[in-house]
Symmetry: C2
Subunit: 94 residues, 2 copies
């Protein structure tokens, strides 16, 4: 969901998502590359190559319309989940 949300703002490439964009929500390279392939298989993103000024060409990912719909759905599920957890956590406290 976080990767989809990031790509919703601007196209991006895996290495960048891992290193910079994910500040608090950390992810390693061993996670992102299989994940991106899954997103591609599910047709939530498309991909295109673009030259980089330094290093090898980058594989950019762009959200599809289906990806945007999926993101909205995941967001709604996420917020419902957070509400449920907070209901359990906050039953007396804090």
């Amino acid at each position: 969901m976080c990767v989809l949300a990031i790509l919703d703002q601007a196209d991006g490439y895996a290495y960048d998502i891992v290193t910079k964009l994910a500040g608090g929500v950390e992810m390693s390279e061993g996670t992102i590359y299989p994940l991106m392939r899954r997103l591609q298989n599910d047709e939530l993103v498309t991909t295109y190559l673009a030259e980089s000024e330094q290093g090898p060409p980058r594989k950019y990912y762009r959200l599809t319309a289906q990806g945007r719909r999926e993101l909205q759905k995941l967001k709604a599920e996420w917020r419902a989940f957070v509400a449920d957890v907070e209901k359990i956590l906050g039953e007396d406290n804090e």
Copy 2:
């Protein structure tokens, strides 16, 4: 974390946690029993048997002092995590 939070309010047994207490955050029996053993191994809970009015005796779990500390720690981590995710989700939108 949710199981610890539930046990923080009152001692409980696995079957009950799975069926009733977890309304939104669902969990199956194949999950809870190994989980309770892990919590026990980590000394976050202690256990005792109590007769039931119907069915076999119940194995109740009680939070230890360490369990309470762990819960506080997990809660803080959870809330930081939610904040980080919301920061990613809400970078432009609603």
